[in-house]
Amino acid sequence: MTNELQLINAAKAGSADAFADLVKHYRTRLLRFLLTRCASYADAEDALQDTMIAAYRYLHSYDPRWRFSTWLYRIAIRNAQKHRSENVVELGDLSDEESDPLLHCIAASETENLWVSARRVLNDDVFAATWLRYAEDMSIKDISKALDRSDSWTKVNLLRARKTLDTEMNRRNNGSEAYG
């Protein structure tokens, strides 16, 4: 973590290389997340690039009291929203594997990936909260900060998402058993 702080300070001083090292570990994770929120793989890549540029440019506004990943995800969520509003695509309608970048990146399986189900049954912010919680192991406070929501909103919606996804998981498992 000290190393991360050193890299942040070097990047703040204007070192692009230090920043590249800093975000190296986050790029793949961010791209995976952005893929669930963008209409195409190219959009996800563009959103990632914009996120990196914005993070580097506004690094002075980063508050070290928060995790660096929380701050990065906050920027990424905004960029994903910006790309989506430009293209105006409803992600819930992307059921075609050819056009859905998420389905394109998931290996063929007998059962539906739970995140595909989550994207279908949860709204954008609740999906993002669920992703940050279960895929990124973020705390409630960090999720609230990243989504610019209250802690209580995050807790309540994560609970609802859990119930919904639990039902989806059981339905999926029952379906696979019936077919098996």
């Binding site: 703040k12 790029r27 279960y134």
Partner: protein, 135 residues
């Protein structure tokens, strides 16, 4: 970790993405062209020593002025000196003399005895008046 959390973690890992070399180059090139914004540190201007002397002296002068003003308000108002010689003489009050036409009682006995005699005289005079008017 419960079953759902475990499944979500596993399924997230199944999303296979790679940052391509081309994207890596694009990002690096973009970053080279960006200058991070810097927050301007608040400028602390050093004031000259004369400023502190001047402000101290002004403060002291103001305090003195306030003290003088308060004390000048507390001085008693001047009492007008009145010369006795200038005043008009008070006119002499003349009380009217009343002729009471009184007779001094001649006390020949002790007071109790005198009282009894007077009461007796009064009673006799009363009976005399009643007889005269025919009661």
């Amino acid at each position: 970790m419960d079953k759902l959390a475990k499944q979500l973690k596993t399924d997230a890992a199944l999303i296979d993405v790679q940052v391509s070399d081309e994207l890596d180059r694009r990002i690096s090139a973009s970053l080279q062209g960006v200058t991070p914004e810097k927050t301007e540190a608040p400028v602390v201007r050093q004031r000259p020593a004369a400023f502190w002397w001047a402000s101290s002296l002004t403060g002291i002068a103001a305090a003195l002025a306030v003290i003088v003003l308060i004390n000048s308000d507390r001085q008693p108002a001047e009492i007008a000196v009145v010369h006795v010689a200038d005043t008009s003489p008070v006119p002499e009050i003349k009380t009217p003399t009343i002729n009471w036409r009184t007779e001094s009682a001649m006390l020949t006995q002790p007071l109790q005895r005198e009282l009894e005699d007077l009461q007796s005289d009064l009673k006799k005079a009363e009976e005399k008046v009643k007889r005269d008017i025919g009661l």
